[in-house]
Point group: D2
């Protein structure tokens, strides 16, 4: 699933489904379901509404994500129940890829943070400036490597819009909370694209739970 | 898998295998394996020896466990990366089952904690006393219920050797640490039986990782 | 602060105050307050209402708690950001103390869990039965010790109403969530008494945050 | 405490001391110390050697840290028991500060990662190139802001060597583990400077525990 210009969200695997949530909850009564009934669906809704989150920590999801560093830094704020392993620019020195927006969003003077929906007046120029800066950074990085500079030092000049890649295992509860916060209109547009991609993938795999938790 | 007189460890499902560990680690170099090679096995050993634990947090295991409360209370000390849902004696009031050791272990005067390997001199008597106490507690519990007492109150008289049951989802790293600590000779004999059962099940599913982490 | 018949909640120390929350939040804007203003109070309310919980994880509280095991087992469900060390009946063998309710609450037939507000018809009898069972358990425990039984084994006969004691360090966010869930009318009466005691103590130390989070 | 060219580690406050560790451990025996004895010191060493880490989770430390983003990204890998709030470039648009090494370290061909101790042959040139790139990035950032670009978008061109600032509350156990891993010679030189600064500050506040955990 492509996101932004060069990003990606790939669902590697899932562990459990809506029934896993039900059976984790029903263990309180020492009962078990083998098939999802309408009663089970009501239970899932009840759990979500009453903030009984533990059953939603049992199903697990594994993703491979490719996103700009400034997005990844916000994504990583979500820690509880997430395991992550990431490409390291201490180890690799292949050519970096950088994010460049098509629409360079305007500051919204009414807000302390965020941006307006449209682009700045000189959008084409702004895009060109960012693209040019990205190319210069990549060239400088290569020049430093050619001078014998260690990759771990050379990376200091690479922009925060550089793409990074990681494998992430997280619980259904963890992704539900992440998406809820990052789909909020006050979240940055770029991270919202990733939250929407994850949301689309998980709604398919956990239809009842995802609807209840959204 | 039966443990103690009435306990059980049941492996419900696993998420990932040794290859999951390898690929979580190799993402640092942006590489991927599709089959476990001898080089991959060396990598797993290297990770375990150098305390690089994150890749071992990706594989997940789901168990259904039945153990005495005094064992479960120690088991629950292990929190990081574990999700648990347990039978609640606020909700259920069926007849409780209680643990009774065959060998009532003797105090070891040289130790502050723990016990000697053998049973006390009057082992048969001690076993009979515990069994009788368990039966009396179960009867009293039933009498209280018959008087209209709420199960959540009546449970106060049930012994700490009562069996409880729960579903647990945890990471490979989490179980490796739990088993390492709870297989130690200083751990109580009863919890060691559970750690051994889990260890046997996971050694089969994650042969290379489990050997490296043990 | 006494709770139940023999329980206790003791506030050992606190780390930070309402201003800590404000300054953790203001670091986003790279600003700092030295005194709590009305603007700061509004910020705290805003953070709580919009579920921006991270700033509330900075203040820490240390308590010494004494509660029955069946209460402690629910208390321990709250894990995130809590450190706990507890008296171990593997190490100690002094006479155990047991909880005995004054009012043995009646089952509420309309509820799957919980109890009615009043006691059962035969309340005096029920109290006497529980008290007697507690005494018998203490005697049996002592007899087993006298026969040379290891404390870690002998404890199996002690009731779940036995008091245990522990030191707990947790964040303001952690206690706010714990109290919110455990002050709910659906929570068991006994745990509500502890949640109320903690709530009273923390409201005094973190007046603005506690009001916002409650 | 200054670190690198423009970085800083500031100890804001500590919660507890070596005695806190001792009393958290002694609660197992239901004992308490009011002054640190040589027996207590032995206990701390014993706990550290036998990997009994829970008592070390009770003391807490609050720091204000200023470090380059590529360092902060590794620092944030350490999650368990850490609370963090950071300056956000979505909210602020003052002139960014960037890290520039005095010695641009050379690649070590024998290593997959890391660098040699000395600088590259053309060290002066490399330093000048990095400094110039940092200045260009700051200028471009300002130009974009002047064109009306939202700060959250403009930041994409800022380098990964840009300084960021955050408040962090963590446990003694958490910092001990972080420093152990980040003082290792295989860790990047820049992060080692921060780990050393933290280590110096905490050794003073927790002399016995820090020596035992190092």
């Amino acid at each position: 699933m492509n996101v932004l210009d060069l990003g990606r969200v790939e669902l590697l695997d899932t562990f459990g489904d809506d029934l896993t949530v039900v059976n984790a909850a029903r263990v309180s009564y020492n009962k078990e379901s083998t098939e999802l009934t309408s009663k089970d669906e009501k239970l899932i809704k009840f759990l979500a509404e009453h903030n009984h989150v533990t059953p939603f920590f049992h199903p697990q999801i594994r993703l491979r994500l490719k996103m700009p560093i400034f997005v990844a830094r916000e994504w990583y704020r979500h820690q509880i129940g997430f395991a992550r392993n990431e490409v390291s620019r201490r180890y690799v020195d292949y050519e970096p890829e950088m994010y460049c927006p098509e629409l360079v969003r305007e500051r919204d003077e009414k807000l302390k943070q965020g941006s307006k929906a449209g682009g700045v007046t000189d959008n084409a120029l702004a895009v060109a400036m960012i693209k040019h800066a990205n190319e210069s950074a990549a060239e400088l990085y290569q020049e430093l490597l050619d001078m014998g500079v260690a990759p771990e030092v050379a990376r200091t000049v690479l922009p925060q819009g550089m793409y990074t890649e990681f494998i992430e295992t997280g619980s259904l509860a963890g992704y539900a909370r992440l998406c809820k916060l990052r789909l909020d209109p006050s979240a940055q547009w770029e991270i919202r694209q990733y939250a929407e991609a994850v949301s689309t993938l998980l709604r398919e795999k956990f239809p009842v739970s995802w609807a209840a938790l959204s």
